[in-house]
């Protein structure tokens, strides 16, 4: 409710005035007061008059309305944008893969240098340093799988098949998949953050201006390190999962470790191991390429580094699981 129009306003008792008070005083003058209206204040101090005049001067523009995007058309537009973005992202990823493979080829025929120090450094960071977490996690999952299997199989008196359950799942799937997912979260994100912060500090531009190649310098060492280390870690993960299963077997199911090993040796074919390990380099490639590419896409701000790091983890885990599903269908058709 607007206060009634006042002809003159007695402000003789006014001692202090802040901007909020001044705005409220000006409201008393009506909807759109002018400088002349300040005369209607009776007994206004000079300092207060200056403040009121300044505020009056800056109250020229109303608050612009904020645009809201809730209409059906806006929704369609956003769907279109998202589709287009997905398309561009796929193209970018394919382009980056091509560039990386090309540089890798140039390294192989000796036209580009392989940065050995950098490769070893990243092998330590992504491989060796990840050993504790990978073994612990797969050990725990191995134990859980054995428990789950045992509870179901006991009803059929087939507890001994727990060995096959753990062996199949870890050799074919869990060993390599869990390792890949862990490394996507651990190393893929680190690649993005490292390269991204370099990009935001213009270090990538400096590399280019110095006549160097960012792919050769930054991407290849990380890619090669992961290509070497992920299969090794996956192997370790398989072993650790089997140990977890064997432990549960001996503690809760009366399957002694020697029985576990004999059964494993007799019933599990080596092809399961190769099927699992074959996937490791593919996953390593996906994680390294997505991590490095997202790093290169960072712009200026620190906020952008965080956004792209998240995107790298989400994308690489998505791609790893997608690739794993394709592999599963492929091997099933092949009958191995």
């Amino acid at each position: 409710m607007q206060p009634a129009q006042l002809q003159t306003i007695d402000v003789r008792a006014l001692q202090q005035l802040d901007t909020a008070g001044a705005v409220l005083l000006l409201r008393l003058l009506g909807p759109s007061p002018t400088a002349a209206d300040l005369q209607r204040f009776d007994g206004l101090q000079a300092a207060h008059r200056d403040l009121l005049a300044l505020i009056l001067n800056r109250r020229d523009a109303p608050l612009p309305l904020r645009e809201h995007h809730f209409s059906g058309r806006a929704m369609l537009a956003r769907m279109g944008q998202a589709t287009e973005k997905f398309w561009w992202q796929t193209r970018q990823l394919l382009g980056f893969v091509g560039l990386t493979v090309q540089t890798l080829g140039l390294v192989l025929i000796g036209k580009r240098k392989l940065r050995m120090t950098s490769v070893v450094f990243h092998m330590e960071q992504t491989g060796l340093d990840a050993v504790p977490i990978v073994t612990l996690l797969t050990f725990l999952v191995g134990a859980v799988v054995a428990f789950l299997g045992a509870t179901v199989l006991r009803d059929f008196g087939a507890e001994i098949f727990t060995v096959e359950l753990v062996a199949y799942s870890f050799l074919r799937e869990f060993g390599v998949l869990l390792t890949a997912i862990l490394l996507a979260g651990r190393s893929g994100s680190a690649f993005t953050a490292q390269i991204g912060s370099m990009k935001s500090r213009e270090e990538l531009d400096a590399i280019q201006v110095l006549g160097l190649d960012a792919i050769e310098l930054l991407v290849l060492p990380r890619l090669i390190a992961l290509l070497v280390m992920l299969p090794l870690l996956a192997f370790l993960a398989m072993l650790s999962g089997l140990v977890g299963g064997a432990l549960v077997g001996s503690l809760a199911l009366d399957i002694t470790p020697s029985m576990f090993i004999t059964r494993l040796y007799e019933m599990t074919e080596i092809r399961h191991f190769w099927v699992g390990l074959l996937k490791a380099p593919v996953f390593a490639f996906l994680i390294a390429v997505v991590g490095c590419m997202e790093g290169m896409k960072v712009e200026g701000s620190a906020e952008s580094v965080g956004r792209h790091t998240t995107a790298a983890v989400v994308q690489s885990i998505f791609l790893v699981i997608l690739a794993d599903a394709i592999f599963a269908i492929f091997f099933m058709e092949l009958g191995v």
């Binding site: 909020a20 409220l24 403040l51 300044l54 800056r58 608050l63 612009p64 701000s301 906020e303």
Partner: protein
């Protein structure tokens, strides 16, 4: 300088700041009067920003006293400090705007936190601060990332002014601005401090700012304030850093133009 100047809004006594082995301030004294624009200048690493952070409570000094509005605020806990924090505003180097909020929402943050105001008055006040800081009304709904460096500083200023502070702390407000924008920003500070009656604590590298808007200049060197006075007095001081700063190749031009502008006025 007497200890109980009646109108000193800020008194620093015997301040000592230490980082590991490195002593940044030792026995540092500084006074600021109500309504004045005090420029604080010093070489890189002289501890200007540390001084500002010690005064506004972002760093607890290793010794000495900071008095704001006559009360000792050294080492107060967060709750006891809050009544003082309402009475000063800080503009950080790049504005330090909250990146997930629009400019208008940024300015409203302190208002919402401290007062229960009707929404229309809140919007009107926030918009007024944005306009006072010299931004167009259209900037109100923009996000910090959509603004240029100069506009971000103005938006940061609008937020610092939200609670009608009695002291405004500015950390290198003109760094990263082109000379024209820098001069306009100096002018804005001068105008606003005159109209809204706040004191300004200005940490700067910019000699132009010292000459154009500061009532007094404090020079930080050797861990202390070596002189606090009008800029034309300070530039005569015999300390070697002051000499190379004001008499050096970059100082002379500014001093010359200052004398020229003085001559024009008389």
């Amino acid at each position: 300088m007497s200890d109980n100047t009646p109108d000193a809004v800020l008194q620093v006594r015997g301040l000592r700041s230490v980082f590991g082995q490195q002593v940044v301030h030792d026995q540092l004294d500084l006074d600021m009067q109500r309504g004045e624009v005090l420029g604080v200048i010093g070489g890189s690493g002289a501890g200007k920003s540390v001084l500002l952070r010690s005064i506004v409570g972002l760093k607890c000094p290793e010794g000495g006293q900071v008095r704001l509005f006559g009360a000792d605020v050294t080492g107060l806990d967060d709750d006891a400090r809050r009544p003082f924090e309402r009475r000063y505003g800080v503009l950080f180097q790049d504005g330090a705007l909250f990146s997930s909020l629009t400019v208008l929402e940024n300015v409203k943050v302190p208002l919402l936190e401290y007062f229960k105001l009707p929404l229309d008055l809140l919007d009107e006040l926030a918009l007024l601060k944005i306009r006072l800081a010299g931004l167009p009304a259209e900037a109100a709904h923009k996000y910090p990332a959509q603004l240029s460096g100069g506009m971000r500083k103005r938006a940061g200023l609008a937020r610092a002014l939200a609670l009608d502070p009695e002291i405004l702390f500015l950390d290198e407000p003109t760094s990263g601005l082109d000379p024209v924008s820098a001069a306009a920003f100096d002018e804005l500070i001068r105008t606003l401090s005159a109209a809204l009656h706040f004191s300004v604590f200005l940490v700067t590298h910019d000699l132009d700012s010292l000459y154009s808007i500061c009532d007094r200049v404090a020079v930080l060197a050797d861990g202390r304030v070596i002189v606090t006075d009008r800029v034309d007095v300070v530039e005569q001081h015999s300390h070697p850093w002051i000499q190379s700063c004001f008499r050096g190749p970059r100082g002379r031009g500014v001093g010359g133009s200052f004398q020229a502008s003085q001559a024009r006025e008389h």
